[in-house]
């Protein structure tokens, strides 16, 4: 089992009130799955993504990644885990400004302790960018790239350390429909190649590319359907 959540809850404190954003979620994700997480705002889908991707600690419950309990990890262990095992694709791309596409893609390798000025490492980053169709844009900065191109740089960055799991948070949310289609196709292809993807979205047509659809409501799983 790649990812297993067991009775996971997450509470937030806002002022004096405690808000339960996730309420005893239990969920299992196999390798090569493609999940679409849906639900209205406030349903807990974003919190689920943060907790499952090790960005946030769960308040209760256990999380296993490749059958290792990771929910008790400290901050440093979680940083290393995110670096090696998890790829992130954000709605607003989150590329470093005034930094070339190549250097953006190299960032996870830098934090993995690789020599980012070595030929081999650079070559790998170049290959990643070629794979998302940006082989001719290696040295462009985010300001010189369109939204769709920026998101493709972000996808290359998510792939560079060859993670077990890719989390995508509204990957087409900031894009026009044409660029959105390109991203959808790339994600679909990645899944076909064997990548496990967990994607939060509120758009039906985007959710359609996933093989499994989980709908959240009030911090709980409302439905969990697999495509036939």
């Amino acid at each position: 089992m790649l990812l297993r959540l067991n009775q996971v809850s997450k509470n937030y404190k806002i002022g004096d009130a405690v808000i339960r954003a996730l309420d005893q979620i239990s969920l299992q994700v196999q390798e090569k799955e493609f999940l679409a997480i849906m639900g209205p705002s406030g349903s807990g889908k974003s919190t689920f993504l943060q907790v499952a991707s090790m960005l946030a600690e769960p308040s209760e419950g256990e999380i296993f990644l490749n059958d290792v309990e990771v929910s008790a990890y400290n901050e440093i262990q979680r940083a290393h885990l995110r670096n090696k095992q998890i790829g992130f694709i954000f709605q607003s791309f989150n590329l470093l400004a005034r930094t070339s596409a190549l250097d953006n893609v190299l960032l996870p390798m830098f934090y993995a302790g690789e020599k980012t000025d070595s030929y081999k490492v650079k070559q790998k980053a170049k290959e990643m960018l070629e794979r998302v169709g940006l082989g001719d844009r290696l040295y462009n900065t985010p300001a010189q790239l369109s939204g769709g191109q920026q998101q493709r740089v972000a996808i290359a960055r998510a792939l560079i350390n060859d993670p077990s799991l890719i989390f995508a948070d509204e990957p087409t949310g900031n894009l026009d429909s044409k660029s959105g289609e390109d991203i959808k196709k790339i994600l679909k292809d990645l899944n076909k190649e064997g990548k496990t993807i967990i994607m939060v979205t509120h758009e039906e047509d985007v959710a359609d590319i996933a093989k499994r659809r989980i709908v959240f409501k009030d911090g709980q799983v409302l439905s969990d359907d697999r495509k036939k």
Binding site: L55, A56, I76, F110
Partner: protein
């Protein structure tokens, strides 16, 4: 990841905001620049004073009434005039010379007074330096034009004077003063010589500003009997100690121990240098305040920078940066700003000291350089801690959500 990899990262972010980085450094630049420049002036002054004393001769012994090293050292010209008790007698001087022919080559008796000098329409308040004719040889002070008075002229109390080059120029301008008469307190004296330049003074009393007058003339016409000092030229530098004891023994027969002092250049030099040393530290300390202000400037900008780059920090953390790495990155950035500022300040101080050199002895010392470098590094690290800690503590989720 290696912690050394923060250096290129920190440097890059400094270079991304060139003008802001420079403005941030400005406080440290000014701080280090002023500390180094002011201490260089102080140490230069010490070196200059030492040189000046060496040029006056290192085999000279002074005998003065009382103890000038007590009560915080020399009070300058006024205290010389005010040391009123006429304890030093010509007779004592003669005894010292007579008893120590083997040690002492020559000597001078000096007295000081002030007078108003007038030539045509120019009036000046001047210091009259009453000396014996041996002054020329003991201090090796030649008359650049004219001549020195001799022992006979001195004994006869002739109304003749020599002028230091500065006072000569101030009174006479371009006119040749030799054989001209000037009025000292209304009485006429003939200028028989102008001395060569000795330099020094820095606005204080200088040998170039004195009016040199035969001691007997000073005593006869200026209502004083007060001998200011004896100056003895010891035959051999090595015999300074021996000569000091011999003089103390001869004079001690008639005077109490605390009524007179015998000292040489090195004692005088030590006193003056210790005063200049305190002055240097004081000036440097005042300038160091601006370094602290510079450090606060760095902290301010780093705090702004952490806020501005909240999203970037969140992203870096999401991609695997540990809190310690983020801490190191921002701390290094603050330290680099401060160190680069310190180096620029050092260069400016060095150029400043070069520019000053024609007018003022300034000397940038290795100690000042090391101190400035160390202090600017420390300033960067100390004032960088708070912003760096704030960055390291940011939660990746909060940071990524930050608009």
């Amino acid at each position: 990841m290696k912690i050394t990899s923060v250096f290129p990262l920190a440097l890059k972010s400094i270079l991304l905001n060139k003008s802001r980085s420079f403005l941030t450094m400005l406080g440290v630049i000014i701080g280090v620049g002023s500390v180094v420049l002011l201490t260089s002036i102080g140490t230069g002054l010490q070196a200059y004073v030492t040189d000046q004393f060496a040029s006056l001769g290192t085999n000279i012994l002074y005998v003065v009434p009382g103890n000038p090293f007590e009560n915080g050292g020399f009070g300058g010209e006024t205290s010389m005039i005010e040391s009123t008790k006429p304890v030093l007698k010509r007779r004592l001087y003669n005894q010292v010379i007579r008893n120590n022919r083997d040690l002492i080559k020559e000597g001078i008796v000096t007295g000081v007074n002030v007078a108003e000098a007038k030539y045509k329409k120019t009036t000046k308040k001047v210091t009259l330096y009453g000396v014996t004719s041996s002054y020329e040889t003991v201090y090796n002070t030649k008359a650049e034009s004219g001549k020195w008075f001799n022992a006979t002229e001195e004994e006869k109390s002739e109304r003749i004077i020599l002028l230091g080059p500065k006072i000569a120029e101030e009174l006479f301008g371009k006119v040749d003063p030799i054989n001209k008469n000037i009025l000292l307190n209304g009485q006429a004296y003939k200028v028989i010589g102008v001395l060569e330049e000795k330099g020094g003074g820095f606005g204080g009393p200088s040998f170039d500003n004195y009016v040199y007058i035969p001691l007997e003339t000073l005593f006869k016409y200026f209502d004083t009997e007060l001998i200011d000092s004896f100056v003895f030229e010891v035959r051999d530098k090595e015999q300074i100690k021996e000569a000091t004891l011999a003089i103390e023994k001869t004079i001690g027969k008639e005077l109490d121990e605390d009524e007179f002092s015998v000292f040489d250049q090195s004692q005088l030099l030590t006193t003056i240098n210790s005063i200049l040393g305190v002055l240097t530290v004081g000036l440097g300390g005042i300038a160091a305040i601006s370094l602290v202000v510079g450090g606060i400037g760095i902290m301010n900008i780093m705090l702004v920078s952490v806020t501005e780059r909240t999203r970037e920090i969140g992203l870096r953390k999401a991609l695997g940066a540990t809190p310690n790495f983020i801490l190191a990155q921002f701390l290094t950035e603050a330290a680099m700003l401060s160190i680069i500022g310190g180096l620029i300040g050092l260069v400016i101080a060095y150029l400043g000291s070069l520019a000053l050199q024609p007018y003022f002895p300034a000397k940038v010392t290795m100690e000042a350089v090391v101190l400035a470098f160390g202090v600017s590094t420390a300033v960067g690290l100390i004032f960088g801690v708070a912003p760096a800690k704030r960055a390291a503590k940011l939660s990746p989720i909060e940071a990524l959500r930050y608009e």
